[in-house]
């Protein structure tokens, strides 16, 4: 199910200056400007990927975020090997490269003074794929929200289930949704924020189950891959197919919110939670 593996933004180093080429409009933007604009293209509003901690810093009040369950990391329980080597080597490289131990960072903090529990996926870590450790952290965070009667927010950025864990990764879809079911039962709000990309097994589990579903502009949100569908139906699909805007048109997303407005938008929604 994890079919989305393409990087979305290319960073290029020239001799002196560092610039970024927007994958959507192809314009070249100084990296400093790119970063200042929260990894969003100033030209076409393309929302590039950001790391978990960058997002946490954007959303939570200063020094309010407390990380939880950061002791959880992947395990190669199937001893999975493909052409490019072992799963173990892949996740060890990802841990070194990203400085995080799984494809999601979990914790709690305050958003404009309102407490909330959060899980933020990180696309840099094996394409944000849903492994057993990812599912465990997302479930544990929802349990923390359940036990403390706090609203739960999940930011998704994922190609889907992690193939290297076989059906164990598939079962994380059921596991994370079991956590959502308990929140529903206790009437604890769960907000899902879908960012680029949210596909496969992640879109078909917790990411689509928000009481409120919010998307960043232009994000790819899909169950099946475009190529697979084109092969199935034997025709080309429209350009906006499976984008945030398409999903909103078809009734699956409540609102599309720019990254710079996300914090205030979330705290505004959470301010309606009377408990």
């Amino acid at each position: 199910m994890a079919w989305y593996t393409e990087p979305t933004v290319e960073k290029k180093t020239t001799q002196k200056k560092l610039w970024v080429k927007c994958k959507k409009c192809n314009s070249h933007i100084y990296e400093s400007e790119w970063i200042e604009n929260l990894n969003v293209c100033p030209n076409c509003n393309y929302h590039g990927s950001i790391t978990s901690y960058e997002r946490i810093n954007l959303i939570f009040d200063e020094n309010s975020f407390v990380e939880l369950f950061d002791n959880i990391s992947p395990k190669d329980s199937l001893k999975f090997n493909d052409l490019k080597g072992s799963y173990k080597d892949k996740y060890e490289t990802a841990i070194k490269k990203t400085g995080i131990s799984e494809s999601v960072v979990t914790g709690y903090g305050k958003i404009n003074g309102i407490p909330a529990v959060v899980a933020v996926m990180d696309f840099r870590f094996l394409g944000g794929s849903l492994g057993s450790g990812t599912g465990e952290k997302i479930l544990q965070a929802s349990n923390y929200a359940y036990d403390n009667n706090l609203p739960y927010i999940v930011f998704s950025a994922s190609g889907g289930a992690r193939m290297q864990e076989g059906a164990l990764s598939l079962m994380q879809m059921a596991k994370t949704c079991a956590g959502v079911a308990r929140l529903n039962k206790k009437n604890i709000p769960y907000i899902s924020v879908l960012t680029n990309p949210t596909t496969g097994g992640v879109s078909a589990s917790f990411a689509m189950m928000g009481d409120v579903n919010i998307a960043e502009p232009g994000a790819l949100i899909a169950f099946a891959g475009r190529r697979v569908i084109e092969q199935t139906i034997g025709e080309k699909l429209p350009d906006d197919f499976q984008t945030s805007e398409y999903l909103q048109d078809h009734g699956f997303v409540d609102s599309i919110v720019d990254r710079k407005d996300m914090k205030n938008y979330l705290s505004n929604i959470l301010s309606y939670y009377n408990r």
């Binding site: 450790g133 059906a167 079991a178 879109s203 078909a204 689509m208 199935t232």
Partner: protein, 289 residues
């Protein structure tokens, strides 16, 4: 011609041993082939052999009646159940009508409607899983394939009647799991359950679908491997060369296993049932701490 009875017996013995040996060395890819065997029994074959008095219900009340997914009340022995399952066909005409057992959102929504109906009538749910996957098509995406499956996973976690799921052929990814959350997960010994098809996995991680046998082995998709990893609870051993070689024995064993599991689940209160189901899924997965 000069062969004594003894040497014939010895030869037969060797042949039997060889046969057993080759059976033992059955590769995951061989199992994939059996699970997709054209004569492998499908839901319709079990309907007449395992269940009585099937009352089919149609439609999701939103858009259509998906023929890739069927369901309704049925009796199994003395027990009344809600039977829901992927509906593959045996020939081209049937398969086109039933979309090769690949359900659209309408199918998953129909399944959920019937599960709620089971809850209303307080009868346990039995699901038969046999699909290459949820349908990957334009209208499926348009009507929310992802949402439909996600909703089922969430609702099935808290449906207040026992749920027994049985993989009879192909357990294809989210399309299988969409009716596959329950208190007991059973698999026929030559069925498969997988996060992505071996061909799909091979074309991504090996850059070529022809490595599907390698992907099948690497992903641990057989009943035995999944039982070992705690994904499923019980394996129903198939007779002879596989379920396709003996429908009657397969059906008898399937019936026995379902009745046995329903019986043990009937002792639990609703609260215990939901709590245990939550604990079951909380415990699936392997990670480092």
């Amino acid at each position: 011609m000069g062969l004594s009875d003894k040497s014939v017996m010895e030869l037969e013995d060797v042949a039997l041993k060889e046969k057993k040996k080759s059976k033992k060395e059955q590769l995951p890819w061989d199992v994939v082939q059996i699970s997709r065997h054209p004569n492998r029994p499908i839901l319709q074959d079990y309907l007449s052999r395992v269940f009585d008095n099937f009352i089919e219900f149609h439609g999701d009340r939103f858009f259509s009646d998906d023929k890739a997914m069927i369901g309704g009340f049925a009796r199994i022995g003395n027990q009344k159940v809600m039977l829901i399952g992927h509906n593959k066909g045996k020939n081209t005409v049937e398969n086109i009508e039933r979309n090769f057992g690949m359900a659209k959102p309408d199918g998953y929504r129909k399944a959920l409607r019937l599960m709620k109906l089971a809850e209303r009538f307080n009868v346990p749910i039995v699901t038969f899983i046999d699909t290459p996957g949820a349908f990957p098509g334009l209208e499926a995406e348009e009507r929310g394939q992802a949402e439909a499956i996600a909703k089922n996973l969430t609702e099935m976690a808290s449906i207040e009647v026992p749920i027994v799921c049985l993989v009879i052929g192909e357990g294809g990814s989210g399309g299988a799991l969409g009716i596959g959350v329950g208190d007991r997960i059973l698999m026929l010994s030559n069925s498969i359950y997988s996060v992505i098809s071996p061909e799909g996995c091979a074309s991504i991680l090996w850059r070529d679908a022809k490595f599907a046998p390698d992907a099948a082995a690497a992903m641990n998709i057989t009943a035995k491997a999944l039982h070992h990893h705690g994904v499923i609870d019980e394996i129903i051993k198939e007779p002879g060369e596989g379920a396709h070689s003996d429908y009657e024995t397969t059906a008898r064993d399937v019936k026995e296993a379902i009745i046995k599991n329903l019986k043990s689940l009937s002792r639990l209160s609703n609260e215990e049932l939901i709590q245990k189901r939550f604990e079951k899924y909380s415990g699936i997965g392997k990670f480092s701490i």
